[in-house]
């Protein structure tokens, strides 16, 4: 499958701070890729690098097969970009914004635009500066979708939106991608929202990509394993690398296995913790996966620094 976004060893430094380091990312065509991470992890910087708003200090990125530093009008005609950081022409009404954007795109679909305008319930005659945050985001989406882009890049699109609007937006994106087979690259720190959307996921923390894979694979290989252990049990001296955040209580032992294999993972725990019984494996939500990965990454860095 072709990649609409492909990065190789992308690093970005600014005033002595490395905001993104050695990023290796691949977003397959037609996928919805959720780019997740806590605040300040490097998500927005990565997107700016992809959109040629910033230039990588090292490495290279390709968007729609073109080097990101060479993205020009012909590529941006096929890319929709919505960001909470983007400066909108606030003095325009929604109608003026549509009229302003339309001549830039040969693929502008007037009927589609009118339908979205209606679906989003946007007031045409109201200036953007007088719209609520959610309405502004809808207006931005409107003028980024109406020309049916091949790739939609959304940077924190749900920030500040109330739940109802979020549902509308998510529903809209899902519907469009299903119909049009668009690729979507969406960054968010709100994991619950994108869980419903994404079929690929990447997790960035401290500027470094911690993982990037299909959501189905991730949820399949990440399991919480709980067990009951005899009093006085000790942790195994050589625990597997795939075990994350092991916790030993007076009568219980639990661990997140990042390489879960049915039966084999349970057997391995029984071998390493003698007397362990009632071993059960529970799937994790995306939120639990990323909390685990974040805590594990921080624990590892703390151990290295101490």
């Amino acid at each position: 499958m072709n990649a609409v976004i492909q990065t190789e060893n992308v690093t970005y430094r600014y005033r002595g701070v490395t905001a993104v380091r050695e990023l290796e990312l691949s977003v397959p065509e037609g996928s919805i890729y959720a780019f997740l991470g806590p605040n300040g992890a490097g998500k927005t910087t990565t997107i700016k690098l992809l959109m040629n708003l910033l230039q990588p200090s090292e490495g290279s990125a390709k968007v729609l097969g073109v080097d990101s530093t060479r993205l020009g009008p012909s590529e941006f005609a096929r890319v929709g970009y919505v960001s909470e950081n983007q400066q909108m022409p606030d003095w325009m009404t929604v109608e003026q914004l549509v009229a302003f954007c339309q001549p830039m795109y040969s693929t502008w679909d007037t009927a589609f635009c009118a339908k979205m305008l209606n679906d989003f319930q946007l007031p045409s005659d109201r200036k953007l500066k007088n719209l609520s945050r959610g309405m502004r985001m809808k207006a931005a989406l409107l003028v980024s979708l109406a020309y049916r882009p091949r790739l939609l890049v959304l940077d924190e699109p749900f920030t500040g939106l109330d739940p109802l609007v979020r549902d509308e937006v998510i529903h809209g994106i899902l519907e469009l991608t299903e119909q049009e087979k668009w690729s979507v690259f969406i960054s968010s720190h709100d994991i619950d929202e994108v869980e419903r959307l994404a079929d690929y996921v990447g997790f960035i923390d401290g500027g470094r990509l911690q993982l990037s894979e299909p959501v189905a694979d991730l949820t399949a290989r990440m399991r919480r394993i709980d067990s009951v252990v005899p009093p006085g049990s000790r942790r195994a001296p050589m625990e597997p690398d795939s075990w994350l955040l092991p916790e030993l209580g007076p009568r219980t032992f639990s661990v997140i296995d990042s390489q879960y294999t049915p039966e084999k993972s349970e057997q391995r725990l029984a071998t390493l913790i003698p007397g362990a019984t009632q071993i059960t494996a529970t799937p994790l939500s995306l939120r639990e996966v990323f909390v685990t990965l974040s805590r594990a990454a921080r624990g590892k860095s703390q151990r290295l620094s101490s």
Binding site: K48, Q87, M104
Partner: protein, 537 residues
């Protein structure tokens, strides 16, 4: 280009209200200038504050409109809407240039129409176009460059105000040239601003653009303070034959003075050799002016001291003896004047440290002066009637008032002129040399029936006030000319009877020849008190 026009229309729409207001202001400014600048109009324009207030508002609006248009699609930062839209950097730059062009177009059209109506010769319209265009681009484009390097109006304001203060301080601290090639500073400003603007929009490399801006600022400053002696233009002489061989230059050092100037770092003590210079043997129909000077101070051991030339190149005062003789020759009537003076000037100056080192050494001052000789020519005559009007060389002159008293007569006149660079009719620095040397016109009260004439009392006009319109393209000057009232038997008594047959004659200087003369002054010791002149002429 379609996309450029699309963005251009959007920018116009963005700034529509302020542009409408500004356009009305430009038209109002033009109308008021046209109505109030002529010498025979009333001065209500001045009462409205038109010459000062409207241009000030005009410039302030430019400083608001330009950043509004430029920062609408900011070239700095990474948040601008256009950055992720299918518009090329070149197309956006073209759109911005169209916007700037529109801003410049309105004053260009209005000013040209007003100048045309004000009597600018048709042949000078292209010169006027060049002048107004340069004025506009040298104002608008640098402002646009600053706007392109700043993300918000607030930052733009801070940078612009800071730059203006810095340039003002620099211009105060650095020596200013007496002559700057016409329009050069404007061209450099335009090129500088245009380069920064284009570089920033085409590359979005803000750091490099800032470096370019700083280098350009240094270049603009260098151009402004460069001693452009070589740029002085050749004179267009009249056909009057003139032989300069028999003329001699006399230079006398009269005193040694000390002056202290305060700089930003420390006080600078300078020693000045003051003196007088005079061109001897000049026929009475002519006057002389110095055009360029060079003076060298050579110590006894042959060392050339690092001295500065400060001989004045300004024309000598009007109505001293040579001038009066030349005026009399021009009008063919003897002219009475009580004014007789030869101005003292600083011949050379040197730092105190150099002076201390050589103060006991004999020195030689070698002065090379380039002279221009001129004669007076009658330029027009005005009857002594309020409202009398004449036009000459693009200037209108009107008698505004006549006040006769026991002390003599005071005539108020108004002069209005079109001051287009690259064209005739201007006298400011940076303009063709013969026009600068022509100086202000001279007015003489003449009674041909009695064969008598009088120049203004004490040699000077008084109560002069100037009003500038359209940024100086049009100028109106009101001057009070006092005549008579002198306690001298040879002076004509200017009374009601004398005035019956009198007219006000306007004279201008016409350069006829240019030549160089050298003079040497030997001083026994640099540090000893210099010989005083025998008597002032």
């Amino acid at each position: 280009m379609n996309l450029s026009l699309h963005f251009f229309r959007k920018d116009l729409s963005r700034a529509s209200w302020i542009l409408i207001f500004w356009s009305l202001l430009v038209v109002t400014e033009g109308c008021l200038a046209f109505l109030t600048y002529p010498s025979n109009s009333s001065q209500f324009g001045a009462n409205f504050g038109q010459p000062i207030l409207l241009p000030l508002v005009h410039y302030l609006l430019i400083a608001v409109i330009v950043p509004l248009m430029i920062q609408e699609d900011a070239a700095v930062g990474s948040a601008a809407f256009w950055l992720t839209r299918p518009v090329s950097h070149g197309a956006l730059l073209r759109a911005k240039l169209l916007g700037l062009g529109a801003i410049m177009l309105a004053p260009l059209i209005v000013d040209l129409v007003v100048l045309f109506l004000a009597g600018l010769p048709t042949g000078d319209l292209e010169k006027a176009f060049a002048d107004i265009f340069l004025r506009q681009v040298s104002l608008v484009v640098p402002i646009a460059a600053v706007a392109a390097l700043t993300p918000t109006f607030w930052r733009f304001t801070v940078v612009l105000v800071g730059s203006v203060i810095l340039l003002t301080l620099l211009s105060a601290a650095l020596p200013q040239p007496k002559l700057l090639p016409t329009g050069l500073a404007d061209v450099v400003l335009f090129m500088w601003g245009g380069s920064v603007l284009a570089h920033q929009y085409l590359t979005r490399r803000t750091s490099r653009s800032i470096i370019l801006a700083c280098l350009g600022g240094a270049l603009v400053t260098a151009v402004s303070v460069w001693p452009w002696a070589l740029a002085d233009e050749p004179l267009a002489f009249s056909t009057t034959a003139f032989d300069s061989k028999h003329l001699t230059l006399e230079v006398k050092a009269t005193s040694l003075n000390t002056s202290t100037s305060v700089s930003l770092i420390h006080n600078v003590v300078t020693k000045k050799i003051d003196g007088v210079y005079e061109l001897k043997g000049l026929p009475p129909a002519f006057i002389y002016q110095t055009r360029t000077v060079s003076a060298r101070l050579i110590a006894g051991d042959g060392t050339e001291l690092p001295s500065r030339v400060t001989i004045s190149t300004n024309p000598p005062p009007e109505f001293d003896s040579p001038h009066v003789s030349a005026i009399a020759a021009a009008i063919g009537i003897p002219v009475h004047s009580t004014v007789s003076r030869v101005g003292s000037t600083t011949l050379a100056s040197l730092d105190n440290s150099d002076f201390v080192r050589y103060k006991n050494s004999p020195v030689k001052l070698i002065c090379d002066l380039d002279f221009v000789v001129s004669r007076y020519e009658t330029d027009g005559e005005l009857p002594l009637i309020k409202g009398a009007h004449t036009r000459s060389r693009g200037e209108g002159v009107t008698v505004g008032g006549i006040d006769l008293s026991d002390e003599g007569i005071t005539i108020e006149i108004a002069e209005s002129s079109v001051n287009v660079r690259f064209s005739d009719g201007i006298r400011s620095a940076g303009q063709p040399a013969e026009l600068r040397l022509r100086g202000d016109p001279v007015y003489v009260l003449v009674n041909r029936q009695r064969n008598e004439a009088s120049v203004v009392s004490n040699g000077t006009a008084r109560g002069s006030s100037s009003m500038f319109y359209l940024g100086g393209l049009l100028m109106k000057k009101v001057v009070e000319l006092p005549f008579g009232g002198e306690r001298n038997n040879s002076a004509p008594i200017i009374d009601h009877e004398w005035l019956q047959g009198a007219v006000l004659v306007r004279l201008v200087r016409v350069p006829v020849a240019e030549f160089a003369k050298r003079a040497e002054v030997k001083l026994a010791k640099l540090g000893e008190p210099l010989r005083q002149p025998k008597s002032p002429r």
